[in-house]
Symmetry: D2
Subunit: 106 residues, 4 copies
């Protein structure tokens, strides 16, 4: 399974349920934001150190996997509806970040 | 460029700048949330219809590409620091969603 | 009940449960963000017009009241822990906005 | 200045600029979420301890005041457009929380 295959699966999923009319970029950005809020809630009372050990707790691990999956699904669907190639966009941004944040001694 | 290569590039980027100590899951979730906030702001005053045409405006298009890239970078980095395979997690979530939302007539 | 009384009630509530150590600004910002995510989710699939009529639906109304209350509680608690007077800060920001966005013909 | 006066000032501000058509609950929730994202970004790389000392740094203090003000403004405006009394809603939520989280020995 690669990202393109995931995006195709999301298209088929929305098609089969006639959900496309709801999947405007505006709505999908809100859905993405709502899921990031749920992911945030899992970490809000943890110390940074506890957050680094979160996946060692089976119950918390399952919740993190569930929420990070939802974030990924809405981000992939949003990108598809916008016609954005996420990997290209992300890669181009690292190129820009390398200019903004040069490494010492280079 | 696939997702694994992007994740490796993010590792090298953080390594070269000694940023790993900052990249706890707690901090990365906040960074992800901040970037989703910036993406949200681009769509907040648009109608759903305008949001669907957003990429036709060159200036807005560049901003959307920049923010959606930042969201992708922090999500990929967070997944890496948590040891989560995003595509597996997302795919497993669609499996669960197919049970939650059965299609009519099947 | 005014805002100061609400803030005092939140102090007493946290005191009685020994929750103060968890109420760092970093954690409270995350909690605020998580609750805004839940509020966002209530509106994500609504059209702008439907969102304007949301309070006419008793079930949705109860959910909106619950989530907007949580947002208010965490914002008030965050302000208290930061030593910020929310109304003064908000008022000063409107002063600045009046300069940034002058009204036509005045 | 109390909360009702702030809300009235926001009404006048929007009126004078003909911004009411943009101020649907859906749009205002997005604006609130975007501002919470900006507030989150100020704290993302700080430790919890550093976050507790944030207001001692004059530059960071000014940024926090600016962002927390924006959050307050959009929350107050959203409540007004929904017809919600924020203080009543928050107070009623503390009543419910007292039942959910009883204090030890009482």
């Amino acid at each position: 399974m690669n990202l393109d295959e995931l995006i195709q699966r999301l298209r088929d999923f929305a098609d089969a349920r006639d959900w496309e009319p709801y999947h405007t970029p505006k709505n999908l950005v809100m859905a993405l934001s709502g899921e990031v809020g749920e992911l945030t809630a899992l970490f809000q009372w943890l110390t940074p150190e506890q957050s680094a050990a979160a996946m060692g707790d089976p119950e918390l691990r399952a919740e993190v996997l569930d929420e990070i999956a939802d974030v990924t699904l809405y981000l992939a669907r949003l990108a598809d509806m916008l016609g954005v190639d996420l990997l290209d966009a992300a890669n181009a941004k690292i190129d820009r970040n390398e200019l903004r944040f040069p490494t010492p001694g280079r």
